[in-house]
């Protein structure tokens, strides 16, 4: 099984839970046709499986199951302050999936969701309706919509191609920027869906050593850089996300050579924006994950005591940021570098 993307091989999932209300949707039928050999488990409400108490998230990441469900409103959520809105009037995100195909140590979803089984919502028309409503509410305002906010839709594409439905829908939209953020190495995706209308591609990048330590099952830096070039070749406006950045003796020497590598492989002229943000997490999630992940050194780190957000000491982070920005600004104009 390829670990770089949600492979089409059924070994990726061990079973499919199907919410009763989701049974007759075209998306459900498409997934079930793709995986005819997998056990199917009917469920009254997806939460009956997803919200069970005492689930072992790591066990579930290694023995994955898929939940097909119908999302109830709301379909759009206001973007949080700790995330970059790239100067848009309105910033929203949407969740076609709960959970993510990857298994990153620093992911806050481990503290937010009780399950790591991926839940895929099949009522796409409802999502489209909500996006239309939001655009109609203030037609002159620019809406920034993160489609892959807390998941990776492109990595999930081989399981169910959400973009097949959304691509023609987005094509004619005005005053909308729809961001597809990914760690995937799915180059075929960009060949299949060349740049169109409001779609922008955002790539999360990290030094190989950080990927090896903290982003289990994700593609290497080299594979991601090749995918970025594929996206650029397909006409995409590409954003680079250096986020989360880690600070510490074992990390500090990694980033500057990494930035050099990135821009030696990618044409900076074709990069529309860069975001830079340090590791940060809601304190409640952090505490929860610390209990669940005794194997992860990240959650043993002594971060400064603060009210809500766990992150690095501002003075320490500031010095590192300055060094990083000095390198980044050699390639990208400062006005296109966004600090989170």
């Amino acid at each position: 099984m390829s670990t770089s993307d949600a492979s089409s091989k059924s070994a990726l999932f061990s079973a499919i839970y199907i919410e009763n209300a989701a049974r007759d949707y075209p998306a459900t039928r498409a997934v079930l046709e793709k995986y005819p050999e997998l056990p199917r488990i009917p469920v009254r409400r997806y939460r009956d499986v997803f919200n069970r108490p005492r689930q072992n998230l790591l066990w579930q990441k290694d023995h994955r199951a898929l939940i097909l469900a119908v999302k109830e409103p709301p379909f759009l959520y206001p973007g949080p302050e700790v995330c970059q809105d790239f100067g848009a009037d309105k910033f929203f995100y949407t969740s076609f999936l709960l959970g993510c195909p990857f298994r990153c140590d620093y992911c806050y979803l481990q503290g937010m969701y009780p399950s790591s089984y991926v839940t895929a919502f099949v009522n796409l028309e409802d999502f489209k309706g909500a996006i239309d409503d939001e655009l109609a509410r203030a037609p002159r305002e620019n809406l920034y919509l993160a489609l892959s906010y807390d998941t990776d839709l492109i990595a999930f594409d081989p399981v169910f191609p959400y973009l097949e439905e959304l691509y023609p829908f987005f094509a004619a939209k005005k005053n909308l920027t729809a961001e597809l953020r990914t760690k995937s190495a799915n180059t075929a995706f960009f060949a299949r869906y060349p740049a169109s209308g409001p779609l922008v591609a955002a790539f999360s990048l990290a030094p190989d050593e950080v990927i090896r330590r903290t982003e289990k099952f994700t593609p290497s830096l080299d594979a991601r850089l090749r995918t970025i070039r594929a996206a650029q070749d397909a006409g995409y406006s590409v954003r680079l996300c250096f986020d989360p950045v880690f600070v510490g003796a074992e990390y500090d020497a990694l980033y500057e050579p990494f930035f050099e590598t990135v821009f030696s492989r990618i044409d900076p002229e074709k990069v529309s924006a860069v975001s830079h943000g340090f590791f940060r997490m809601n304190r409640t999630f952090f505490r929860r994950i610390r209990k669940e992940r005794p194997d992860s050194p990240l959650y043993l780190t002594d971060f400064p005591k603060s009210e809500d957000i766990v992150t690095y000491d501002e003075q320490l982070a500031g010095a590192v940021r300055e060094r990083h920005l000095a390198v980044l600004s050699r390639y990208i104009p400062k006005e296109r570098i966004f600090i989170v």
Partner: protein, 286 residues
Amino acid sequence: MILLIAAMKPEADPLIRFYRLKKDMTVTAFPVFRSDSVALVISGTGKLRSAAAAAMLLTMYDARKDDTLLVNIGFAGSRTRSAAPGQLFIVHKITDADTGRDYYPDVLPESGLPRAELTTYPRPVFEPPEDSSAEDSGDRVLLADMEAAGIMESSARFLETQQVLILKVVSDLLSPDGLTADVLKGYMDDRVSDLAKIIQTVYEENGRYRKELFAEETAKLLDVCQMHKFTRDMTRQLERILMKVCLSGGDAMPVLDEARTFTVFTKTEGKRVFEHIGCQLEKRIV
């Protein structure tokens, strides 16, 4: 520890023989048979008895430790004609016919067994009952028993969702004509080595996801903290440093051994010892 629950003696006997279990004469509430690593209880029929027996086992063997696997092994009637008597299934959905509540144990895909859904009824079922979901059951196998829902309800308070295993051998197609004790014994005898293999596979796989890491070092540290009357916060701080040492491959034992030799009389001395231990542990991070 592997904890087994069977409702009746014919279901339990082959397992008692296979695991060479001895009756625990100190337990009187239910018949319990045990070895060093396996315990089996015969609960009697019905979900209340099975829930009580499960709770008793889970309490007796301190199931909050994450090396517990609770297994229900027993016969089930089949509402699906393709499921032949004697066939073994792993259950991935249990419905309590009384309450309508559903339970979903996380099933290890590597078990390789065919899967089934199971409804727990309050009394024996002799013909397929009305069930709206049966009409669109497709290739699903639907079984019926009288215990599993009780075990799921009970275990949910103690165990994680992958720590419960419901294994059912089909006894009949809800028409027990000609079903004798010898026939049932034969089905179970035929399946006992398969059952043991599955149980071992699941037990070993679950072992990879235990959260109690470096138990020996942690126990020694807690002993030190108690000895020197460290506060909870101080203990937690040292636990974190200890984890860092262990995860890095460092050896914390010499520091912990030394820490046990210190004598602390005052709060100030305690604080000094605490800082010394933390400092020495930090040096052990590789």
